[in-house]
Symmetry: C2
Subunit: 226 residues, 2 copies
């Protein structure tokens, strides 16, 4: 089964020069001797560094212990698997027949490893700046609330649930503009709730992020921010 | 006691634009509330990544397990303290009175932390390329023999011991040329053993590295390489 790289690249908001790197990153050892394990090794340390640097910058007053705890809460199997799910990496994985049958594409460890491997692949393909930006984009919400013990609901989910609770119409999202070159696009999204006045616009490096930004603004306007 | 930054920068083969970063990296928590702990946090992950990437490149056929073992053998307290000793970081440390009295500048954990902190300081001051090059320089020998269980003796030491065993005159090293700009010098060193014919030249990013390269060539010429 060939990997659908167009969809992958769209989800990643990154276009590979060397598509073989992307394929390798999503090839589990059960599928091929040439698999993603070496990339996973590199991506693991790269991710650790990118998150460490981001926390170092965002929290200038945090001491080493706080920074370490924040990083540990972000760089772990569950968090990495969550990123993989948002990027829909599981659907693009090359798995051996056994793993495929036993639902390997949903397994947390396989997903977490794929996240690390794809990060290394992007780094090798596009360099540190591109890779850092993407990882920060994917981790944005957690970077700004790294210690929230209970998994913080994203803005879109919170807005949706709030509207359901109020019994009003649900939010609608529309991409109104995409700017920038193919490898570095910016999405502009408008969020509208038919029963409420006013719409809000959000901007982001991916459709999802732009939608989150728009949802956040509506929550702010409604006085429903956390 | 002010830190002798000239000597430090010479040992590092790096000149800081922001000297405060260097001072901070060498300030132990016993000396000041503004100390090197945050830099150590950043340097720890940065070092892990730089070594991971170097091993990934140098050993294209090594699997993830081998790469992990090699990295663990290089990135640990003893190895980092060893780098600190070669760079003479201990002499530049700012320690509180108690730590100073109890010999803190020789303590392995303090030295290892200082190595991590100075790596972060160089990164923040000079960027990834400069930092990576220096860390690879400092780690060069281990990168190419990462799994040697017994601490491998460096080439200068081996040559010295060999000459002593043979009862001939000891090697003499002379810097014959320094090229490159101040922040990125290359040292050319000549090694001579009076009782033996021929001299050998070595080139390196620091005096020490050039001497090691020259000593290695003499060992090669004598058929005494490991």
């Amino acid at each position: 089964m060939p990997i659908n790289l167009d969809k992958l690249q769209q989800n990643l908001n990154y276009h590979f020069s060397d598509l073989e790197l992307a394929e390798r990153a999503l090839t589990h050892r059960s599928a091929n001797k040439l698999n993603n394990e070496r990339l996973e090794f590199l991506g693991d340390s790269l991710l650790g560094f990118i998150i460490a640097e981001a926390l170092f910058e965002i929290y200038p007053d945090a001491d080493e212990g706080e920074l370490s705890r924040m990083r540990a809460s972000m760089v772990n199997k569950a968090s990495l698997a969550e990123i993989a799910r948002e990027l829909e990496l599981g659907d693009c994985m090359q798995l051996g027949a056994g793993e495929l049958k036993s639902g390997g594409k949903h397994r947390e460890s396989i997903l977490a490893d794929a996240t690390e491997a794809i990060i290394a692949a992007i780094y090798l393909d596009g360099g540190m700046v591109a890779c850092t930006q993407l990882v920060r984009d994917w981790s944005e919400q957690k970077l700004h609330a790294p210690n929230s013990d209970q998994k913080q609901k994203d803005f879109k989910t919170r807005l949706q649930e709030l509207m359901q609770a109020k019994g009003v119409s649900l939010p609608r999202y529309e991409v109104i503009k995409i700017t920038g070159e193919a490898h570095r696009q910016t999405f502009h999204v408008e969020c509208t709730i038919a029963d409420l006045e006013g719409t809000q616009r959000g901007v982001g490096r991916s459709k999802r992020m732009a939608e989150q930004a728009a949802a956040q603004k509506i929550l702010d306007a409604l006085g429903e921010s956390p």
